[in-house]
């Protein structure tokens, strides 16, 4: 109980600095919006032959239709209009687009986690696999997969795979690596003494795995899951770019950039950020609950 209260106190103590930094960032955002949009406002005023006072100039920069940088409140209004005031099934609803991205993310994340754990188990238990697969696992991540994502989508489309799965495959590729590397570390984290102890109990390989290796790898698993879920979301968004801007947050980004709808781009961007924060947060909560029940945190 005392420990719990202490943790809450510490959490509150960092709240002050964090909110100051966030406020400063918002301040910068407003300043940048005024500065970047001022040219257009002055142009417009010169053409209409009006002299703008400073306050009029600022007011104009913060309320343009297609600003270079929309002000935070414009983005907030756009998000509110496209989430709360539109039907969920409407093509203009951000909830609809967000759900399409989220489903691809979750499917890819699930597949990536399973693949990563299986690879890690293989690498830990088999020396030949450790020698041959591990270096290529690392090399595979220096390939800018996001860059070839559009090609993969197009090729998979031509084979007849379309919709959710191609995007999910990109997410899988991005998320299996952190999980595999983290789990290799985690499954190897029991030290020689503990492994020897299992041997003195004449535990089989399966018993050693389930009773020692698997439980002690849990902290590593959750840390990598957080990285993996964020990477999956990025994969799903980039995977949506080449589908011709049909649906999903990535498609909103692309459509917005085609038509110069900056407010739409920013609202898609912010909702992607909120989605990422929620996903990482959920993994964090599961981590805390699991580790506490295991007596590790």
């Amino acid at each position: 109980m005392a420990l719990c209260r202490w943790r809450v106190m510490r959490g509150l103590a960092s709240l002050g600095p964090v909110s100051v930094v966030v406020l400063v960032l918002f301040g910068f955002w407003y300043l940048a919006a005024v500065w970047l949009n001022a040219d257009w406002a002055r142009d417009k005023a010169a053409r209409a032959d009006v002299e703008l006072s400073f306050s009029e100039l600022v007011a104009d920069t913060l309320s343009q239709d297609k600003p270079k940088l929309p002000a935070p409140h414009q983005v907030a209004v756009e998000i509110w209009e496209t989430t709360a005031e539109k039907k969920v099934t409407s093509k203009r609803s951000l909830v609809y687009h967000g759900w399409i991205t989220l489903s691809a993310t979750l499917l890819g994340f699930g597949m990536g986690t399973v693949l990563g754990i299986l690879l890690a188990i293989g690498i830990v238990h088999n020396r030949a696999m450790n020698n041959s697969v591990m270096p290529w696992l690392i090399t595979s991540q220096t390939i800018p997969i996001l860059a070839i994502a559009p090609m993969i989508i197009v090729v998979l489309n031509s084979v007849g795979l379309s919709g959710l799965l191609p995007k999910a495959l990109i997410s899988t590729y991005l998320s299996f690596f952190p999980v595999a590397v983290g789990m290799v570390k985690g499954l190897r984290s029991p030290d020689a003494m503990q492994l020897d102890q299992m041997r003195t109990w004449s535990a089989s390989a399966a018993q050693t795995f389930w009773k020692l290796r698997w439980p002690s790898s849990m902290p590593y698993l959750f840390t990598s899951l957080k990285i993996g879920v964020a990477a999956s979301l990025v994969g799903a968004i980039v995977g949506e770019l080449p589908t011709g801007a049909v649906a999903g947050l990535g498609a909103r980004l692309l459509a917005g950039s085609y038509y110069g709808q900056t407010v739409q781009i920013w609202s898609a961007l912010i909702s992607a950020a909120v989605l990422a924060a929620c996903l990482v947060g959920i993994v964090g909560v599961v981590q805390r609950v699991t580790l506490r029940r295991m007596g590790m945190a």
């Binding site: 964090v18 966030v22 070839i148 090609m151 990285i227 980004l253 950039s257 110069g260």
Partner: protein, 281 residues
């Protein structure tokens, strides 16, 4: 069908060879077995594609890609793309972004308040899909390499900042007290104790940033680019269905990405050879 059967045979042979190799110890063994695995993978790819008659529009065999890579005309195009995307876009953005992240970390170092605020925010932003900023930055900085460098700056800034801030807290209070008993100034403590202690973290940030830089530069080209660059080449050649050229670009990207990462890793080995994390191996 024969070719597919051969593919399975090659796969089995490679596997048996690796199991046999695993019985020996030493550095060269892991190198050789990694090579064996890679060569097996390429052979299986070639044999399966030929055996099943997969159309070159879907997946070209590695030999076709190699032929394309050896073609001088293609080489000239690839070199132009490489200079445009890697040297102009990724590298300049990498230097600027990592430098900025490092300097901001040092600048906020004296204020624990700012750091307590920056670290969670930086960690949060580092997990966001920053790549989505690409269309905005292309709008602001134009189609040429400046916008690609800008997206790379934004992408590598936060991982670098977070890692440096974390690294600067690495020196223990005992070590800091020792510096104080030597009457060392702030800058002396920073240069002689805390930055060296932070080196593994800083290099970790630099390594993460290498892959991010290349990805950022290539993806930003999908939102608009001059008529050269790796991202431009990939999207246009996919449209023209010449997949062997696409794979040649991918090979160049993978090779330069690996070389970039490897270069930073070598630099780390050369400058932090004294650190326990490097000595153990």
């Amino acid at each position: 069908m024969m070719l597919v059967a051969t593919a399975f045979l090659v796969w089995g042979l490679g596997w048996v060879l690796n199991i046999w190799l695993a019985r020996f110890g030493g550095r060269w063994v892991s190198l050789v077995s990694a090579l064996v695995f890679g060569v097996t993978l390429l052979l299986v790819w070639e044999l399966v594609v030929r055996g099943l008659g997969v159309s070159a529009v879907i997946l070209p065999p590695p030999s076709a890609i190699a032929v394309r890579l050896a073609d001088p005309a293609a080489q000239a195009i690839l070199w132009g793309d490489f200079v445009q995307t890697f040297v102009k876009g990724a590298l300049s953005g990498y230097v600027l972004g990592c430098g900025a992240g490092f300097l901001v970390a040092i600048a906020t170092d004296r204020s624990p308040f700012l750091q307590a605020g920056l670290l969670p925010v930086g960690n949060f932003v580092a997990a966001l899909p920053i790549i989505g900023m690409a269309p905005i930055l292309v709008m602001w900085f134009g189609f040429d390499w400046e916008s690609k460098a800008a997206i790379v700056v934004v992408m590598v800034f936060f991982p670098m900042l977070v890692n440096t801030v974390q690294g600067l807290t690495e020196a223990s209070s005992m070590q800091r007290d020792l510096m104080r008993t030597y009457a060392a100034s702030y800058w002396q403590t920073l240069l002689k104790l805390r930055l060296p202690a932070a080196a593994p973290f800083i290099f970790n940030g630099l390594k993460i940033a290498t892959t991010l830089a290349l990805i950022g530069a290539i993806v930003a080209e999908f939102f608009g680019s001059p008529t050269k660059g790796m991202g431009f080449r990939i999207s246009t050649e996919v449209g023209r269905l010449s997949l062997d050229m696409v794979w040649a670009v991918i090979a160049v990207a993978a090779l330069s990405g690996s070389a970039f990462y490897g270069g930073i890793a070598l630099l780390e080995k050369a400058t932090t050879f004294w650190h326990p994390s490097q000595r153990e191996r």
